[in-house]
């Protein structure tokens, strides 16, 4: 084989196709520390080709039916982690009830990759530029996380620790993404890419009009997204929008600490763009309101 060089070949492993969650969790437990979950593979195989990780056991969860569903329940909108970016964009439920995620899914890699990329893999990649974390944070979403022994609820805002580092334990799988609102939510998602298509900043906004809740998450500017609500934005419901936006931009400017990353953008530029996108997202959000 002519491809036996790093960056091209994948290290050796054994592949398991799990058809139910119990099997997947027990395999993960059995090989704990030496196994990885496979969803779309787009980030996993990249890391394995670079030999950043060399798991000997790969557990494919895409065949597990319950991880591929989108449901409306009394908890809110429940999304299976193996739902792909294309499926998110085709779902009427996501379009109507989770607009920041609906719009964000269109940025999760190019249209061809979007047939493979899953929302669970996108979250767990822990890359600063990915869309899933800020989009779901703006809707106060939580994750149902399971291991063979137990189940816990983890707010999306507590998932990412650092670049490619998350708070998931090595025997855990994200089994559900729960958006705790069922309707009455409007929202948007904006992103600026530089000329080589790397993210400068992402901004997700969500407005729960009946509850007078406003949320914003700003991604890509630092290792993990920043979260704002009406109080940290200094939002006053009886003030004019323009004044509110002015105050909000000041709050954003004094909170975020943008980083220069991968020669994508300077810290100053990132900070400015985050504010420009935030202002634009808020204007669009309140245009109809």
């Amino acid at each position: 084989m002519s491809y036996n060089t790093p960056n091209i070949s994948l290290p050796k492993f054994t592949y398991y196709k799990a058809d139910n969650l119990t099997d997947a969790l027990s395999l993960l437990k059995q090989y704990n520390g030496n196994a990885r979950v496979l969803a779309g593979g787009i980030e996993l195989f990249k890391q394995m080709r670079q030999r950043l990780i060399v798991p000997e056991h790969i557990i494919d969860i895409k065949g597990i039916e319950e991880l591929r569903k989108i449901d409306v329940t009394d908890r809110g909108i429940e999304i299976g982690p193996a739902v792909t970016a294309v499926e998110l964009q085709k779902s009427q439920i996501i379009r109507d009830k989770c607009p920041p995620l609906f719009k964000a899914a269109a940025f999760m890699g190019d249209r061809i990759l979007q047939n493979s990329v899953t929302i669970g893999g996108n979250l767990t990649s822990g890359l600063p530029c990915t869309e899933g974390v800020p989009a779901l944070m703006s809707m106060d979403s939580v994750l149902e996380v399971r291991s063979a022994e137990r189940s816990r609820i983890l707010p999306v805002s507590d998932l990412v620790l650092n670049i490619r580092k998350t708070t998931l334990n090595s025997d855990e799988i994200i089994t559900k993404i729960i958006v705790p609102y069922n309707g009455g939510l409007s929202g948007g998602y904006l992103k600026l890419l530089n000329a080589s298509e790397m993210a400068v900043a992402n901004v997700a906004v969500a407005l729960f009009s009946a509850k007078r809740k406003l949320r914003m998450a700003i991604g890509a500017v630092s290792v993990k997204p920043y979260y704002f609500d009406e109080s940290t934005l200094g939002w006053k419901w009886n003030e004019p929008i323009e004044e509110n936006i002015r105050v909000a931009l000041n709050a954003i400017g004094s909170t975020i600490q943008p980083m220069a990353y991968n020669r994508v953008a300077s810290a100053e530029y990132r900070g400015e763009i985050a504010k420009v996108l935030a202002a634009r997202a808020l204007k669009e959000l309140f245009r109809g309101a």
Partner: protein, 157 residues
Amino acid sequence: MRTIILTVNGLSKEVSVNDNEVLLNVLRDKLGVTSVKAACWKGECGLCTVLLNGLPVKSCMTLAVEADGKEVITAEGLYSDERAKKLQESFVKHGALQCGFCTPAFIVASHHVLSKEPDIDGEDLKKELSGITCRCGTYYQIYDAVKDARKYYKKDH
């Protein structure tokens, strides 16, 4: 090694593969399907794009074992499709290639796009094809060729 079954361009093939082999290697080296190109091995260039159960995927990022039991279509398999044949003729007519290295991937992806959205235009078409790189820069000729072939994909044609 394990034996998997792939339906490649309509023909059922039994092939033994290692778990860590990607579909791209198996198609090119074990099945001789060489329209599928290898270049970046990172999911970036899109030159390895094939249809897997009807959806375009990058075969450098897909394990052969993941494709077990599934249907794979490449440019070779599209030559028997009347519409895709016209699409390929349209690429020739519009000079939508220079070296031709990217052409099979663009044919596969644009065939998929036209099959589901025969009226596609403008920015939407560019977005749909944005996962494939043409180093020779024939993008505008490609867009023209695809747009010109839309008529063959409409129901009334």
